[in-house]
């Protein structure tokens, strides 16, 4: 069900006025009413989107190689690394390089006692109200493994965009590490990568 509603929300609406303007720009008598053209256009566009969503896979979108952090890394070092690489989250690995979790801004904020739905604004609000319990100090001496979200939600390289977006919505996640058969992380797909799909679509046209 979720899939359908997402597809329907794709903005493929062109107005009859748009079509009339386009028809004016094309010389010659076009033997179709703007309404009929619109119907054909919408059906064709939906098919094109379907095709796109079902042919592009994780491999086409993912960022690779991925910044990965060790579960034993302390939070200060991890925060520095994420900041330096300008990413808001990363897969967490054990000593065998196998993925064991995902750590993100949310996990840091959660650890700082910001509350149930951690966000940057939540933290600002929290710290302004309670100077005392604004405990960034809590992050000292903790390791990534302690605060990471686990088990990680992961995907396989052959997953379609369609499946990936459904998973993002269903699991309320923002990034999906892509792992190979041996459990090693080969890439990561973020919501931003998904957004870029639409520009891939434009290029194809």
């Amino acid at each position: 069900m979720e899939k359908t509603s997402r597809r329907e929300s794709i903005p493929l609406d062109i107005s009859e006025q748009d079509i009339i303007e386009a028809m004016k720009a094309i010389q010659g008598y076009l033997d179709i009413t703007p309404g009929d053209f619109r119907q054909v256009y919408q059906a064709a566009y939906t098919l094109a989107i379907e095709r796109l969503f079902n042919t592009l896979t994780a491999v086409d979108l993912m960022t690779s190689p991925v910044l990965q952090v060790d579960q034993d890394m302390n939070l200060i070092e991890a925060a520095g690394l994420l900041a330096e690489k300008q990413v808001s989250g990363a897969p967490v690995i054990d000593s065998n390089k196998k993925i064991v979790g995902v750590v993100s801004e949310k996990d840091f904020l959660g650890e700082m006692g910001v509350g149930g739905k951690p966000s940057f604004m939540q933290m600002v609000s929290h710290c302004l109200h309670n100077d005392e319990s604004c405990m960034i100090g809590r992050l000292h001496r903790r390791s990534v493994g302690e605060i990471m979200t686990k088990p990680p939600v992961t995907g396989l390289p052959e997953m379609t965009i369609s499946a990936i977006s459904s998973l993002f919505v269903a699991r309320k996640i923002n990034r999906l590490p892509i792992i190979d058969n041996s459990g090693l992380t080969v890439g990561i797909v973020t919501r931003t990568d998904l957004a870029h799909t639409y520009s891939v679509f434009d290029e194809e046209e």
Binding site: E16, Q27, G28, Y29, D31, T33
Partner: protein, 178 residues
């Protein structure tokens, strides 16, 4: 949308074409009809044969005035006239004693056949009708009506369409042959 609401029409009329399009439509149709009628009046008429039938006026609208239309493509032009002519002559031969029946069978059956063969060409309906309601000289042609005027006339008009419609830079004909 209920039955009566449908009758109001909810769509919009397509835009008017540019003046240059009007001009080329005029030139093409003038030359196309000139070609078939010159042959008709100067060569064939005395021998009781025909080259022009009323439905060619309608074909001219399409193949010179709406050249992008699927209805105006060679397959439709030739196929529509030929198939409809066969149906028309056959209807007259079978039901000629009841002209109303022959006429209605001719038109309705030719529309069905054109649809089934992807050769829908509105003037074909007229070609079928003329085979029934036409003059004695048309009736005397028998199945020759299919070949001449229907096929040959349509073919001459097609030649003119190919020549004229491809002269302007922004016009091309046909969209497809078959």
């Amino acid at each position: 949308m209920n039955y009566l609401q449908k009758m109001k029409g909810s769509g919009q009329s397509p835009p008017k074409v540019r003046l240059i399009e009007v001009l080329w439509s005029w030139i093409g149709s003038f030359l196309g009809i000139a070609a078939v009628s010159l042959i008709h009046y100067n060569i064939l008429d005395r021998s009781g044969l025909a080259m022009i039938i009323g439905s060619f006026g309608a074909s001219a609208v399409l193949i010179y005035g709406a050249i992008r239309s699927p209805l105006a493509q060679p397959r439709n032009l030739i196929g529509g006239h030929v198939l409809s002519a066969i149906i028309g002559v056959t209807a007259f031969k079978l039901f000629g004693q009841q002209p109303w029946l022959a006429a209605s069978i001719a038109v309705s059956t030719s529309i069905a056949l054109m649809h089934l063969t992807k050769t829908l060409h509105p003037p074909g309906g007229a070609t079928a009708l003329i085979a029934v309601i036409g003059s004695d000289s048309i009736h005397n042609l028998g199945y020759l009506y299919v070949l001449m005027p229907a096929a040959l006339g349509a073919f001459v008009m097609l030649l003119i369409a190919l020549v004229v419609n491809n002269i302007p830079k922004n016009r091309r004909y046909p969209e497809f042959w078959w």
